[in-house]
């Protein structure tokens, strides 16, 4: 029985944990909330082991399926299931969830129970998004995770938090309303809300384009793609560092996941038709946002912009397949591009998540919690262990081979050349842009003599922080030097997805 409801347990266990944490009351029992949250987070991560072991990577079918009728009138089901991509994302969510809870135990000083509850609910909702196979259920989880995120920014954020949290909420909410319209249209066409049934509908190109744009707004805001990206730097800077980690490591990926799960297989002709549009936006993200990141003076904003630039590779990898198919011999040529996009989704979580945590650690130690680069300098003198870890994560952000950040970008650049050589060349500019913003920041913050008396008193990271960083460092290096195991989980799913996402005319090649 456990086997069949594993996904439900993964989703609802954190929610139950959240309720328990809330029941501990105010901050006088803070440690109880900390323990409950940590135990739940660890339990959830452990539950990923049977999920991973039970998963058959040789099949593209949805696995661990659960299906219960939920609302009879509209044939809405509580239906769950995972394929390779969502499996990887669920494991990533649980991994990140644990890090965030641990970091929160250490860094958050007031309303701890509420903080833990918010992040546990967020974790549950996100697993729900990745596991849902029913469109309405997906939508419910999709919107459900906004609320705890909105609260966490508004409650534990910094000075300008109310502007940022409202901007975040309105931006993402407006986008998703259009998605709901598109889902309702698809329901009208098919009579069900099962996402799988939306595939291969043979809609006219005109309708497909309308649906494409409805989805586009929902997902592009989440990714975020230029020009609907301006909520992210604000949300990141104002959010508590745990919130930033969840945003960067998971929430942005939901946009890409949406493109993969909805846009590409449901409206393949429109995607092929509008691939140029998506590619241009992706390249703008890589180059324009990369340049913007260089001039940032706030560390969190800098990393936020760098996240947008990195996500440009994920969208580029997704939509470049249509160009590669024009020139390639078999659809296998486009395979690396799409798989690179998925890898980018996963690998970006480690490096950027770790960097956001790091900025949090610095700000916690600084007397006024400043995130400004100019307030720091010479940190390496005072916090050598932290500096060494941060160098590793900065290098992952730079995309150095042997780190997680390299794999996805490399795959996307390599495969793009076949579709359009110029795209590959422009995308390769990231090599210099990413190095510029990451290492220039590193130089100003960590190197040089100790900048001022506030830096002078900073202490190196404690054991909780070290544990977090060791976990992340293992992730970064392992994914960098041995990505094969993750790719093996993805192969069949990506293969199937690619076949579904290519217009009939192209697969005939």
């Amino acid at each position: 029985m456990l086997h069949f409801s594993l996904l439900s347990i993964l989703i609802w266990l954190p929610v139950i944990g959240a309720i328990l944490a809330l029941m501990t009351g105010g901050d006088e029992h803070a440690n109880r909330a900390r323990w409950i949250a940590s135990i739940v987070a660890i339990a959830n991560l452990l539950l990923c082991i049977p999920l991973y072991l039970g998963f058959d990577s040789g099949s593209y079918a949805m696995q661990f399926q659960e299906n219960h009728l939920w609302i009879r009138a509209y044939d809405i089901h509580y239906a769950l299931g995972v394929d390779g991509i969502s499996l990887a994302m669920i494991i990533l969510t649980n991994f990140t969830g644990l890090l965030v809870i641990l970091a929160g135990c250490n860094a958050i000083k007031f309303r701890i129970a509420q903080y833990m509850a918010a992040f546990l609910v967020m974790q549950g909702m996100m697993i729900g998004v990745f596991a849902a196979t029913d469109a309405i259920l997906f939508y419910v989880f999709w919107e459900g995770m906004l609320i705890p995120m909105y609260l966490s920014i508004g409650m534990w954020g910094s000075s300008n938090r109310s502007y940022a949290s409202i901007k975040f909420f309105l931006y993402t909410f407006l986008g998703s309303i259009l998605m709901l319209v598109a889902l309702l249209y698809l329901y009208n066409q098919t009579g069900v809300f099962e996402i799988q049934k939306f595939y291969g509908l043979n809609l006219s190109l005109h309708i497909q384009k309308l649906i494409f744009f409805a989805f586009f707004f929902a997902f592009a805001v989440k990714v975020p793609m230029w020009p609907v990206h301006t909520w992210l730097p604000d949300a990141h800077t104002e959010a508590p560092s745990g919130g930033s980690v969840v945003l960067a490591a998971l929430m942005l990926k939901l946009g890409i996941y949406g493109f993969l799960r909805f846009s590409m297989p449901i409206v393949p002709d429109a995607c092929a038709n509008l691939a140029w549009f998506m590619i241009i936006l992706s390249l703008i993200a890589i180059v324009y946002i990369g340049l913007v990141a260089i001039v940032q003076t706030d560390m969190k904003k800098l990393i936020a912009y760098s996240s947008i630039a990195h996500m440009g590779f994920a969208t580029l990898g997704c939509f470049m397949v249509y160009y590669i198919m024009k020139y390639g011999d078999t659809y296998k040529d486009a395979y690396m591009s799409l798989e690179g996009a998925v890898v980018q989704m996963i690998s970006h979580a480690f490096g950027s998540g770790a960097m956001f945590l790091g900025v949090g650690m610095l700000a916690d130690r600084y007397y006024n919690h400043s995130r400004m680069i100019k307030d720091y300098g010479g940190i390496a003198n005072k916090m050598p262990v932290f500096a060494a870890f941060f160098m590793l994560f900065a290098m992952s952000n730079v995309g150095l081979p042997g780190t997680a950040g390299f794999v996805g970008e490399y795959m996307v650049i390599l495969s793009a050349f076949e579709g359009q050589a110029w795209v590959s060349l422009i995308a390769a500019l990231t090599l210099i842009l990413a190095a510029s913003y990451s290492l220039w920041m590193y130089k100003r913050v960590f190197f040089g003599p100790v900048a001022n008396e506030h830096v002078e008193v900073m202490e190196d990271i404690n054991w909780v922080e070290k544990t977090n960083y060791i976990l992340l460092a293992i992730g970064v290096i392992l994914l960098g030097i041995y990505p094969a195991p993750i790719l093996n989980v993805l192969h069949v799913t990506v293969d199937h997805l690619l076949k579904q996402s290519l217009p009939a005319a192209m697969t005939g090649l």
């Binding site: 301006t230 486009a334 690396m336 076949e418 590959s424 390769a428 040089g448 094969a484």
Partner: protein, 653 residues
Amino acid sequence: MQNNLLQIATLIFLLPLFGSVAAGFFGKMLGKRGTNWVTILPVAISFLLSAYLVKVIVLDNHPAVEGVVYNWMTTGVFKFDVALLIDRLSAVMIFIVTFVSLMVHIYTVGYMAEDPSYTRFFSYVSLFTFAMLILVLANNYALMFFGWEGVGLVSYLLIGFWFKRESAVFGSLKAFLVNRIGDIGFVVAMSAILMYFNSLNYADVFAQAHTVATQKMKIFSDYDVSAMSVICIFLFIGAMGKSAQVPLHVWLPESMEGPTPISALIHAATMVTAGIYMVARMSPLFEYSPITLSLVLVIGATTCLFMGLLACFHHDIKRVIAYSTLSQLGYMAVALGASAYDAAIFHLVTHAFFKALLFLGAGSVIIALHHEQDMRKMGGLAKRMPITYLTFMIGALAVSAIPPFAGFYSKDAIIEAVHLSTTPGAHFAYFCVLAGAFITPLYSFRAVFLTFHGKSHVDPHVKVQESSWVILLPLIGLAVPSIIAGGMLVGPMLFAKNNLLGSSIFVLPDHNVLLEMAKTFQGAKLMALDAGDTLAFWLALSGIFVAWFFNLRKPELAEKLKIRFAFLYNIMVQKYGFDDFNQLVIVNGTRRLGDFLYKTSDLKFIDGIFVNGSGKLIQWFARISRKIQTGYIYDYAFSMILGVAVLLIWFLH
């Protein structure tokens, strides 16, 4: 045997990694002595194993060995493996790398003895050795790129080793970024190779080279170029970054901010020659792209002459040697361009010995003078540091191509090869390498004379004494091959029927200048004795003479000339303005562009007009509509009547 060799090669690169990890994580626990053991011993074993591989592959003629260590990833039809290729070229390279690395490891014990970050330094140097070995042992482009970036990373870390110094940190960032420009070239080249060859394995790629050579690639709608040239030009851009060819040379002088042992290892003997190695390795591709060969030739020649000139005008002893390295890398590139790949590798080998020697010698002086690097504050050290002097002199003679020292054979071969080459640009290159033959001894002996001869300008408080044996031992260890390696290797490496690099290098018959030269070659001894017949030899001697004249005999004359030709002198001091240009145009330009995009486009336009604008629009609309809702019955009654009237008119009309 096949498998054994593969295991040995794996061990060769894993041992330094082990040393690095041990020193890096447990350095504090191990202490200085323990660190010495866990880093030096593995490198020493690696060196011995490399020597064994050289014996098996090169001397015993064992065929090249290839093998997979593990599968990095598979995606679609493409397989990326961590796989090694042990052939003649890589065997020679790992031998050089492990040998110089071993010397530098030993030297470091003395040089860094009082540094608080002693163990960190050892960890980095071992890590570098690991990455460099991967670079040369890889059998595919992806793994080579891993090593390529790995050495770049460690170079970055080591240049900025003394991270409290602003100049060191600046230099390290600059080095990394300039190298990354080259890396763009490498990555794009890999993309193109994958597209045209459907594989990144050398063997697969080289096997298809002659068929791809005829393919065209569309750049604009109807403008075609040779696909092979696109690939090779981008590859060479990558090589230009690592091997510091003009205009991507700007990082190398700055890299001298790092501790001297790594200047010897990374910025002279091994990493900077990675680009040369790469082009030589890719000879089956470059041979089919004459345009690229010309480009390599011209850029190499430019680097050779103009960077050599700069070396004559610097006072920092390490920078002089750094510019000398640039110039010598130019020589190697010239050899590549002339299709004399063996000569390029030959010069790479001899240069590794004598340039590492010069750097370590300079380091010995610097340590003796308590970190003084300005040659104007040296002088007359020959008597007080006899062994350092002698070995430094050997290095200077070798780099100046005086027979029978090592540099003579390799440089003379390059000059002769360029002379015979028919690649377009060869005339220009020939002029440059000949001029270089004059300039090299000029700056080298300027350094020798200013440092070791003449009056002492040393701070009288400093008590100068010869360095300790851990420093002198590597000097001697490098001095020996700086003397003999040239004469020993010139025959087998360049002119033998079955030459040392053998099938690792591919040359089209009509480019084969070395074959032409082999006809007149009658042994190393005769080559040295006949040096008097060559123009280069007399140019070299006159270079030494001029250096002596202006630095020891009549230094005041040099001052006069400086004033007389102030304009030219300023150009030299400004290093042709590359740094200013980069700073003003590229760095500031990028920042301004970023600022513009951020402040104007992102904040004012997108956020200001669209996001906050739509927010304001809604607020404005709400404000207006709030006014209508006054709450008074008569207002609502009035609007109802108005509505009814409008509707009535509408329907009755």
